[in-house]
Subunit: 218 residues, 8 copies
C-alpha cells in the first residue's frame, strides 16, 4: 500500500485524520477514503477536485462534495449540536474558498460555525456591525489575502483566540499570500496566531482543538 | 503624553495590556509602568533591559525583574492556583530567553506552567520521556530556532493546541528565525499554529486565551 | 566641491532642496548648509546627528535642532499660517522619530500639521475618536511599523490622499519594515500610496506637493 | 449575497466604489454591476475579462468595455469637463495595459487625462520633448516595468505629485515588477509615491483624490 | 553534435554519466542514449517523459521506463548483488516521485535499496517501527517536502550518513521546497547533508559514492 | 541543569557529541565540558571564544584551544593513525576559519586530514596541481564563499563524495553565504552534497561518518 | 502610433535599435519591423515567436527567422567580414537558446562569432581543450544556468572582457536563474561583468560595443 | 604560506593581481604586498584600512594610501599617459568611496580617468551638462545606490560600454544595494553590464580589459 493510515491519531487526538487529496490521483484518494470509511469514523478529504469526488462517490455513495471548499466528507458518527460556536470571518469574495474549507472542516469536526463574509478593514462599519456574533465565538478564524490587518482588527474586538489564515489572493506585491502572512505574524493584537497560507483545514483543526481543550477541562 | 494606555483591552479581554519596552527609554517605560500600576491591575513589561528595570524599580519598588526572560512584572491582583496547566517546551539552551519570556508572562497571566527544556528532535528519547507532562497540558508552547520540526513532533504527541514560536537562534541558512518559521508554518501536525519569531509574549497570551476560552464555557 | 546644489529644484518645484545628512561628515553637512543658507531660502537637513548639528550651529547660529525628528532647520522666508492642514498619524511610540521627521519637515515646507499618536488598529476606539481631526486634513501621512494595516483603516475614514510610511520598527518577521511596506502596498483602501521605509521626509514633501497642487489651481 | 456593497464609501469619499473582477465569475461581476447600477451612480469594474463584459452587457446594455485597460464602465452621472488635468506616462508598449487602466479609470472618476507613451529613460529626448504637457498636470501617473527610474526623471521635471506604478512587465531579474517597485521606492525625486505592482486603478484613484483635495479647498 | 559525452567521467568516477532529459527533445534524448549505449556501459536518463521513452525505445528496445521515477534505464554490465545496502525514506505519498528517482538510480548504480515510505514526524511510531531496516543501511536518503525535519529525526536514529532531499511538494509557505531545504540545512543531526530540491538523482549518486569510497578501502 | 547531555549519541553513532558554544556563557561551556570530560571520552567545543576557552581551561587544564578554528578539544581516547584520509580544500584566505573548523574537528574524530588552501577556480592551475593529494582522499570537504563553483570543479576531479561548505565570506550580492550555497546546491558534479553556511563542524562529522560507514563494512 | 522609434540611437551608437517582440502582438511586431526596414538599416527582433515571424514575413519577405535564437533579422547594409572575433560559450544543451540569441544578434551587429558548446566545469578537459579559440576572442560571452561558475573559469583563461549571461535553466534552488546570477556577480575573475538573466541580446550588444570601442580608437 | 600568489595572471592578462584586504590582518596584507612588490610589478590592495596601510608602509615606504578609495598602491612600472580615457560617474556624495575605488584602481591599471560627480537623474541638467566629457570615454563606469537608473540614462547618451556598479548606499527598501542592482540588470540601455554591489575594483578592471582589448587589435 502507498499510505499508512494513522489510526493512532484519532485515538490520541479525538479527531479524525484527514486525507490531503492534492497530488494524489483520484484512484488513490478513493482507495484511502474507502479504507478509512471502513474503520467506521467520519472521513474527510481536502483539496479534492471534482474528479477525485467522482472516484470516491463510486466506492462510497454516501460521500458529499462541498464544491467551493473543495472538501469531500462523510459522517458516520453521531453529532452533538451547538459545540463551540466558532466564527469564520472572510475579508473578500475571493477569499471564500479558503474560508469555506475552514468552515466545512470545522463542521465535520463537530463545531457550530458562524460565517461572517466580505468585511474588509477599509470599511470598518462592516466588521463593527458583526461584533455581537463575534463575541459569542470561542475561537475566531479570519481568512484574508489583501487585508492582512483584518485579524488584528478582529483580535481587538474579541476575548477569544484568533486563528489567522493568509490567502494567496491578490496580485503584485501580495506575493501569493506572503504580504498577508507577514502582516498577520506582526499582528499587534496579542491573541492572534497564524497558520500556513490557504490552510483553512489547519485553522479548523486548531479551532476544534481549542474548543475541546476547554471542554475537556470542565 | 506619548502613549495612550488601552484600559479597554483589559475590560474586553480579561487580560492586562503589556508594555513593549523595546525602543522605549527607561524613563518612558517607568512612566507607563507607574500609570498602569496606579490603575490597580497586574503590570507587565517585556523586552526590558536592566536599565529599564532600574528606572521602574525607582518608582515601583514592588516590581520584579526576570532576567533571562527580560520581563518586569508586578502582581496586584489575587491569584488562583493551578489554572491550566500549560507546558513550555524549549529545543536548546539558546532558545531559553524566548521560552522564559513565554513562561513568565504565562504565569503573570495566571497559568500554571510546566517547563520542558533541551529536547531536540535529533535525540527523540528526550522528548518521548516527557510525554506524561505534555499530556496534561491544555496548551503547549514550543520554542525552537534550529529545530523547526519540534512543534510537529510535539503536535503528534498531544491532543491539545500547540503554539509554535520560532526563535532567531542559529546561523547561516537559519536567516534569523526564518527557517524555523517556515518549518513551523508547514507543520504536518494539524494542531500547530505559529506566532512571530521570538514572540514568547504572544504565545503566552494566546495560551491564556485558549485556557480562558475553555473555562468561560463551563 | 563635493556636491552640486540644485537651485533649479527650488525654482521648478517651489520647495527647497533638503540635505540628506546620513553618510556625510558633520563638516560636509555644515558646508552645504552654509552655502544653501547664503542663497536666502529656508534650509533643512534630515537624518542629522547631534554632531552634525553642532557643526552647523557653529556656522549658522540661527539653525534649530529637532531631536526626535533628527532634523536641522532654519527659516529665512516669510511664513503663511494655516496652509493645509495635514495630519500625521503614528501607530506606536516607537514610530515617533519617523512621524516627527514627517511633521517637522512638513512644517518647514509651510504646512499646518495635526499630530495623532499611538492609535493602533488593535484598539479601534483610539483611531475612531480622532475622526474629526482627520476629516479636516487635505492629506494624511500614516507612519507604522507593526501596524501595516493602519493606512488602510485611516484610508477608509477620510476623503483625502493617504501617504503611508512603513517604519523599520518591529522584530522577527517584520524584516526591517518589509512586512509593513507590503501591507501598505496591498492596501484595500484605494486612496493610499506608499513611500520608502522610514522616509518621513518624502511623505512630507509629497503632502506639500498635494496641497500646492490644489492651491495652484484656484 | 456573496458581497456587501459599500455605498458609504461613495458618500464618504465622493468617488464610486469599483468592482475588482479578478477571481469573480462573470455571473458574480454582472450581479454586482447590476445592483450598483441600480443605485444610480457611475459603475466601474477593473481586471474584467471579455467574458465578464459579455455577462455585464447582458444585464446592462449601456456598459462599455475598454479592452486594453480591461475595464467595464458605465456613466450615469453628469460629467464636468476639464477637471485636472493629469498626465499618464507610459515607459514602453508592454506597459500599456496598466497605463490604460489608470487613464480609463481616471476619466470615469471625472479627470481630464493626457497620455504620454513610450518614453524610456535610455532616450531622454523622448521625455524631454513632453515637458510642456507634463507641466500642466496637477498629478502625474508613471507606469513602467523595465524603467524603474522613469518616475524619478519625471519627478525632476514637474512641480506636481508623481504616482509611480511598477508593472510586472520584464523578464529575469525584473521579478514580476519587484525591480521596478524597488527603484521607485528609492526614488531620489521627493515628489514620488508608489502604489502596488500593476495597480493602475489605485493610481487613478489617488490622482482623483489629489485633484479633489485641491478643489475642495478653493 | 549538440552534446559532448563525457566518457572520462565513467573512467574517473567508476559510475556512468546520466542523461538529464528535461529540456531536451525526445529525439535528442534518444540520440544521446543510443550513442552512450553503443559504448557498452549501463545507460540512464532522468526527468524523462513518456514521449522521451517512446523515442528511446524506438532505437533501444532493451530500455525500460520507470514511470513514477521518470527514469529510463538499460543495463549492459554484470551486476553484483547486495552492495550496500542503503535506505530511501519518503515522508509522504506526494514525495514518491523523487524518492523513486533516488531508489531507481541507486539500483542502476549497483546498490541494494530498502524503501521506507509514508513516515512523517507527526506520527513518530511510523518511523520508530523502521529502526531495524534503517540500522543496516550504509547511507540513508530522506526525501520530504512538508516534513523538513524528517532527516534530523532519521539522523538521530542511525550511525550512517544521511542525504536529505527537499521536495517541491507542499503549498503556501513551502515555497516550492525552500522551507524543507532550509529545515534540512539547519538540521541538528550532524550526519545530515543536503542536495538540491527534487534532486533524487544526485542523492543516489552520492550514496553510491559513499558506499564505493568504503569498499575501495578494504 | 540547563542541558541534557546525549550520551546515547556516542553509543549510537560511535562519535562524541560536540558542544556548540555560540550563545552559551563561558561558565555554561565550561560546565558542560567538565561533565562530558568526566564521562571519559574525547570532548570538543566549536564556535568557542577565547573567553570560553579560559573558563574551560580553569576546570580542564588538559584542554587545547585551536584559535583559527575556534575549537576547544581534549583527547582522552587512544587514537588510530591514518584513518581516511580526507582532504579539506579552501578557496581563499578568508575561508580559513571555516576550513580549520572542519579540519580540526575531523582530526579529533580520528581522521587523517590533508589541507589544500587558496585554490580558486579563476586560476585553475592551482587546483589542478593538487590532483594527486585529492585522489587519495576518501571524502573531500570544500569550503568557499566567493567561489561557489569550487566544489563542482573538485567534484569533477575525484571519485569520492564531496561535502561543500558555503562560507559567509564576501560582500554585496554574496548575501552572507547565500550565493555560494545556491551555487553548491546547483552543482553539476553529482557527487556534491551541501551543509549549512559556515558549518565546518557538520562537514567534518559527515566525513567521519562516510569513512566509518566504509570501514564498518569490511 | 504605439511606439516611438529611436532613430537617434543608431546615430549615437552606430548600432541599430532592436525590437523586443515579447509582449507585443504579431501585428505590432510586423508594423514596427516594416517602418524600421523602410529607414534602410539592418532590422532585428528578439524574443519573436513563429507567429510574429509569419506576420513580419508577410510585410517583409526578405526577413529570416532564427528558430533556436527566436530572432528575426534582415540585413540591408554591407557587411565587413572578420570583425572581432568574439566567442560565445554555452554550458549545457539547455542553455542553447540564450547562447544562440547572443550569437545571432552579434552576427547581425557585424561580429565574427566562434561558438563553444557543452563545456561544463565538472569536466574541465572540455573547456581546457578550447583555450586556443578563446584566446583569439576580443570579448567572450558565457551563458550558463546550472554552471554559475563557468564565467569565472573562462575569465581565468583569457585576457579579454567576459560577459556572463545567467540563464533560467535548472530546477529547485536555481530559482529561475538567480543562483547563476549570484554566482556570476561574485565571480572571482575580475574581468567578468553580468547582464540580466536570459539576456543574450544585451550580451551581444555589449560585445559589439567593446569591439567598436577598440576599433574607434585606432 | 597562507596565500598562493598568482603570477600567472599577470602574464595571462597583462594586468597585476590585486590584494583584497578585507578579512585579512594588517600583517597578512603587508606580507603579501611585500612579496608582490619584490616581483617588480605595480602592487595594489583594495578595501584596505588605515591599519593595513600602516603595516604596509612599514615594509614598503614607497606605498601610497588613497583614503576615500581605501586603496593602497605602489607603482614600479613605467606609465604611458592618456590611455583610454574612461569616465567614472558618481550619483551622490555617499557613492564617492566606491567611485574612488574604481577611479584609483583604473589609474593604477594605466588608464586616464575623468571623474563626473553628483549627477542624479532627478536633476537631468547635471548629467546632460557632462555629455562632452562622456562622449570621449572608451568605457564609462557608473556608481549609484539610490539612483539605479543612472546607468540607463548614461547608456543612452554614449556610444561606449557602460559598467554599472550598484552601491550599498541608501536605506529602507534599498536593501544594501539590491534595489540598485536590480535596476541596473533591467537597464533598458543595451550597452550596460553590471558588477557586484560596491565592486569599484571589478569595474575598473573590466574597463582596463575593454581598453586593452581594443588596443591589442590595432
Ligand atoms: N514582546 C512583545 N511582542 C509583541 N507585542 C508586545 C510585546 N509586549 C507587549 N506587546 C504588545 O504591545 C502593545 C503595547 O505596545 P506599546 O504601546 O508600544 O507599549 C500591547 O498591545 C501589547 O499587547
Ligand atoms: N531623509 C531623506 N530621505 C530621502 N531623500 C532625502 C532625504 N533628505 C534629503 N533627501 C534628498 O536627497 C537629495 C540630496 O542628496 P545629496 O546630494 O546626497 O545631499 C535631495 O534630492 C533631497 O531631496
Ligand atoms: N484593480 C484593482 N486593484 C486593487 N483594488 C481594486 C481594483 N479594482 C477595485 N479595487 C478595490 O477593490 C474593492 C472591491 O473589491 P470586491 O469587494 O472584491 O469587489 C474596492 O474597495 C475597490 O476600491
Ligand atoms: N536529475 C538530474 N538532476 C541534476 N543533474 C542531473 C540529473 N540527471 C543527470 N544529471 C547530470 O547532468 C549531466 C548531464 O547533463 P546533459 O549534458 O545536459 O545531459 C551529468 O553531469 C549528470 O550527472
Ligand atoms: Mg469587497
Ligand atoms: Mg542540546
Ligand atoms: Mg501602544
Ligand atoms: Mg520603446
Ligand atoms: Mg501520510
Ligand atoms: Mg587568493
Ligand atoms: Mg552536458
Ligand atoms: Mg545630490
Amino acid at each position: 500500500g502507498f499510505a499508512k493510515i494513522d489510526h493512532h491519531r484519532s485515538l490520541r487526538l479525538g479527531l479524525p485524520e484527514v486525507i490531503y487529496a492534492a497530488g494524489k490521483t483520484p484512484a488513490q484518494v478513493a482507495g484511502i477514503f474507502e479504507r478509512m470509511a471502513a474503520a467506521g469514523g467520519d472521513v474527510l478529504a481536502t483539496r479534492a477536485s471534482a474528479e477525485a469526488f467522482a472516484a470516491v462517490h463510486e466506492v462510497e455513495p454516501r460521500a458529499t462534495y462541498h464544491e467551493t471548499a473543495r472538501v469531500i466528507g462523510m459522517r458516520q458518527q453521531p453529532h452533538v449540536a451547538g459545540v463551540g460556536p466558532i466564527a469564520v470571518v472572510c475579508a473578500g469574495t475571493s477569499d471564500l474558498p479558503v474560508a469555506e474549507e475552514a468552515a466545512v472542516v470545522a463542521e465535520y469536526l463537530g463545531l457550530e460555525v458562524h460565517r461572517v463574509v466580505d468585511v474588509g478593514v477599509a470599511g470598518l462599519h462592516r466588521i463593527l456591525s458583526q461584533r455581537e456574533v463575534l463575541a459569542t465565538a470561542r475561537a475566531v478564524i479570519v481568512c484574508a489575502g489583501m487585508e492582512g490587518a483584518l485579524p488584528s482588527v478582529v483580535g481587538g474586538l474579541v476575548a477569544a483566540p484568533v486563528i489567522a489564515v493568509p490567502t494567496s489572493v491578490g496580485y503584485g506585491a501580495s506575493f501569493g499570500g506572503v504580504a498577508a502572512l507577514l502582516g498577520m505574524l506582526n499582528s499587534c493584537s496579542p491573541n492572534v496566531t497564524v497558520v500556513n497560507i490557504d490552510n483553512g483545514f489547519g485553522a479548523a483543526y486548531v479551532a476544534a482543538m481549542i474548543v475541546r481543550s476547554g471542554d475537556r477541562k470542565s
